[in-house]
């Protein structure tokens, strides 16, 4: 019997995680819990992996798995999305529930927030109805201590009848004990005796009737009491899963009565009240001082008058630090890399490399790479840590709170503000993040409009242009201020466009009303500076840079070849640019720029390098040893501030990169919506650059 249980469990896990790896030799441990309680942090500490964490609800939307070793055994840890409950409101809840029910993990760690134990116990009590192989991990003990909240863990363990471990996952405190407890639980060295929720007579009676009917079909693979409860609640998706994973066709077996809403309320109430009861016995709290600090901060950051200005100011400060800070290292790196280029050239002359080889390798590939690194690395290395800092602090949900009314007016989901913020990192990630939105209509809108916030790959372009061009004319402090204002303005425009496009979609292709949602505003937490820096550098900066160089090298080669393959006096590059020129001119750009955007589809990072390459390759002889030279290069190729503005606008709004498009296809499972996602920002970009250009040309601002 035991063998069969295990086999079914692993099959189900494989189905769910789509893994091919052989995990039979390891114990499977699930990490469940409310959102934002530190599951991913525990996961990372134990497995040494880098699952993303962040101080907001719903950071993890997919399951991740990793291994760790304890004593002589290996354990496969599965990081589940955070949920408040195990009914089926949303995809995350279904994933978490199905894994615990049908994946039959050898143990489940329920991670709870020590500062909000009562609410967390509600989920724990539900899990205890499914399985008794549970360890309660009361995490964030350091935060609780700071807020003067004490929890009697021993008493809690006694009341619940399961092992309880207090941890501070971030500093690693208590994790050793947690692993040990899991080890013992998996080896049956600890027997648990979970608390039973006593429902009222009517419910208990119903449970009994149902249990009797279902018991002989379950083969003890799943708790029949739990099935009965779900049946009383009328949880259709659960009963479907039951059929799918265990082949138990409940419709045939169980009484198919109308769901009694009243009973359902009573079910939940019983749990909530029990949780309240337990928590009152074990939690002691010295005055409600804890909220004071958070509330004071929120009084400013989400206040009626200051809320939105503060948000814009914060964004501005981040950009300002980025621009000011990136300036010097950019110049230094540029000097270094271009100095190296001279040496390489000298070497190739000394070794008599043929001209074409020197051209492709050094003028083509090396130069593009040098540009990508010197222009993009410093701003990214400064911007991402700062942004992650805000995320870790818990500021993003406040952004959602501040902006929610606008999203409501655009008939979309409030969580779209969060998926929008995720897009700042990478639009593909933002698109995946849209899973936190339950209603399909609103999820599609969030997906389609995600590209309106500039990702990793586009930020450097924006920053470079605004620093060297828009602000380039002035020297001194004003220069960086102007650049900052420009960038901030572009981002605000991106947000406005998101709202406008969402509204238009809501009124046309995706008609409907906003659905209900609840947004949790987590307490502010001290960010982990060290980890933030490491994480942003490795996860983001190196990643983006790697991707950029991987694409930039062949692109550089391609451009160089195009520029140096002549057909009747003109290079191929010139032919293409000339072909695009008339259209590009209408949008206030030129053919090379438009071509760079098209060639940049694999990765937006390389748009700027391609522009530079094309200009340099098409005959303009300029030694680019400093950033100032870049400005001269652009001007000598006919750039005005109107060109710069249009490039920035078009950078903000054009076709999504290939990765994003593929992700959209994967998420929406539809080519049609992928096409819409392609068209919406593109059309917006064309309309806006066209309008800006024509108006300024007509008004003779620019000749």
């Amino acid at each position: 019997m035991a063998f069969i249980v295990q086999a079914t469990g692993i099959d189900a896990i494989k189905k769910m995680l789509k893994t091919k790896s052989n995990i039979t030799d390891a114990f499977i441990v699930a990490l469940a819990g409310n959102p934002n309680t530190g599951k991913s942090t525990v996961f990372n500490s134990l497995t040494g992996l880098n699952q993303h964490t962040g101080n907001w609800t719903g950071k993890t939307v997919t399951t991740a798995q990793g291994k760790y070793q304890f004593k002589d055994k290996s354990f496969t840890l599965v990081d589940l999305p955070g949920t408040y409950s195990l009914s089926s409101h949303s995809e995350e809840e279904e994933i978490a529930r199905n894994f615990i029910c049908f994946g039959s993990p050898h143990a489940t760690i329920v991670v709870t927030d020590a500062t909000c134990l009562e609410r967390n116990l509600n989920l724990l009590l539900q899990i205890l109805e499914i399985t008794d192989k549970v360890v309660l991990c009361v995490n964030l003990m350091d935060e609780a201590k700071r807020k003067k909240i004490w929890i009697d863990l021993k008493k809690l363990s006694k009341i619940l009848g399961i092992p309880v471990v207090g941890t501070s996952a971030r500093s690693g405190e208590g994790l050793e004990e947690l692993m040990h407890t899991v080890y013992k639980l998996c080896h049956n060295q600890i027997t648990t005796n979970p608390i039973k929720i006593k429902y009222n007579e009517k419910i208990e009676e119903l449970i009994q009737i149902t249990e009797e009917k279902i018991a002989k079909f379950t083969n003890r693979k799943i708790s029949s009491r739990w099935i009965s409860l779900k049946n009383i609640e009328g949880d259709k998706t659960f009963l479907d899963s039951l059929d799918k994973y265990l082949g138990i066709d409940s419709a045939k077996i169980l009484p198919n009565e109308e769901v009694d809403l009243n009973l359902r309320d009573q079910l939940v109430s019983s749990r909530v009240i029990l949780a309240e009861n337990i928590s009152s016995q074990v939690v002691s709290c010295k005055k409600e001082k804890e909220y004071d600090f958070d509330r004071k901060v929120d009084n400013i950051l989400t206040s009626k008058i200051l809320g939105i200005p503060a948000m814009i100011a914060l964004l501005g400060i981040i950009f300002w630090i980025t621009i000011v800070g990136a300036n010097i290292p950019s110049t230094v790196i540029a000097k270094m890399l271009f100095g190296l280029e001279e040496r390489l050239t000298a070497l190739s002359v000394a070794y008599r490399l043929p001209n074409w080889l020197h051209g492709t390798l050094i003028l083509g590939i090396y130069r593009t790479l040098a540009w990508v690194v010197s222009v993009m690395l410093p701003p990214m290395a400064i911007f991402f840590p700062l942004f992650t800092f805000l995320e870790d602090l818990g500021y993003l949900p406040r952004v959602a709170f501040n902006l929610d009314n606008f999203f409501k007016k655009a008939c979309t989901h409030g969580k779209q503000a969060l998926t929008m913020c995720m897009g700042f990192g990478c639009n593909a990630v933002g698109v995946i993040g849209c899973r936190i939105i339950e209603s399909p209509r609103e999820r599609l809108i969030a997906t389609i409009t995600n590209f309106f916030v500039p990702c990793n790959g586009r930020f450097p372009t924006l920053i470079t242009i605004s620093t060297i061009f828009i602000a380039g004319a002035d020297v001194g402090p004003l220069r960086t201020v102007i650049a900052t204002i420009t960038i901030t303005g572009i981002i605000i425009l991106g947000v406005i466009m998101t709202l406008v496009a969402s509204k238009i979609l809501s009124k046309t292709l995706l008609k409907g009303l906003p659905s209900s949602f609840t947004l949790e505003l987590p307490p502010y937490r001290n960010p982990q500076i060290g980890r933030i820096i490491i994480r942003s550098i490795f996860d983001r900066t190196i990643f983006v840079l790697g991707r950029a160089t991987a694409v930039a090298a062949p692109a550089g080669l391609f451009i160089w070849l195009m520029a140096n393959t002549n057909v009747r006096d003109l290079s191929l590059l010139d032919y293409c640019a000339a072909f695009l020129q008339p259209f590009a001119y209408l949008l206030g750009m030129d053919g090379y720029i438009l071509m760079a955007f098209i060639l940049g589809i694999p990765a937006n990072e390389i748009v700027m390098p391609i522009i530079i390459m094309s200009y340099m390759a098409s005959g303009t002889i300029i030694e680019l040893e400093s950033l100032a030279a870049l400005r001269i290069l652009l001007i000598s190729n006919g750039w005005t501030w109107l060109t710069a503005i249009n490039v920035m606008l078009f950078c903000l709004m054009h076709f999504p990169c290939a990765t994003t498009l593929l992700t959209i296809k994967k998420e929406t499972k539809s080519w049609k919506w992928t096409l819409v996602s392609f068209l919406v920002p593109t059309i917006a970009g064309i309309i806006i650059t066209f309008t800006v250009t024509q108006i300024s040309r007509l008004s003779k601002l620019i000749v």
Partner: protein
Amino acid sequence: MKGKNIPLHMIACGKSAKVKELTTAGSLRRRMLDLGLVNGTIVEAIRKSPSGDPIAYEIRGAVIALRSEEASKIIVDVID
């Protein structure tokens, strides 16, 4: 705003209230219950967002923002 049987979004910031009834069905009701909004729960209105909606409430130790559409479906008695 004083009184009995009023929708939650009507109570003034800084005031607390006791949940009496949820006038909604389906998954929204479930979600509210899961957040701990069962009868008798004390809820405090903390603050309004800059444009007046949503409003943040303290519910069983957590701060949750609700749009007025949702909050209006929670009937409460104000506590003085």
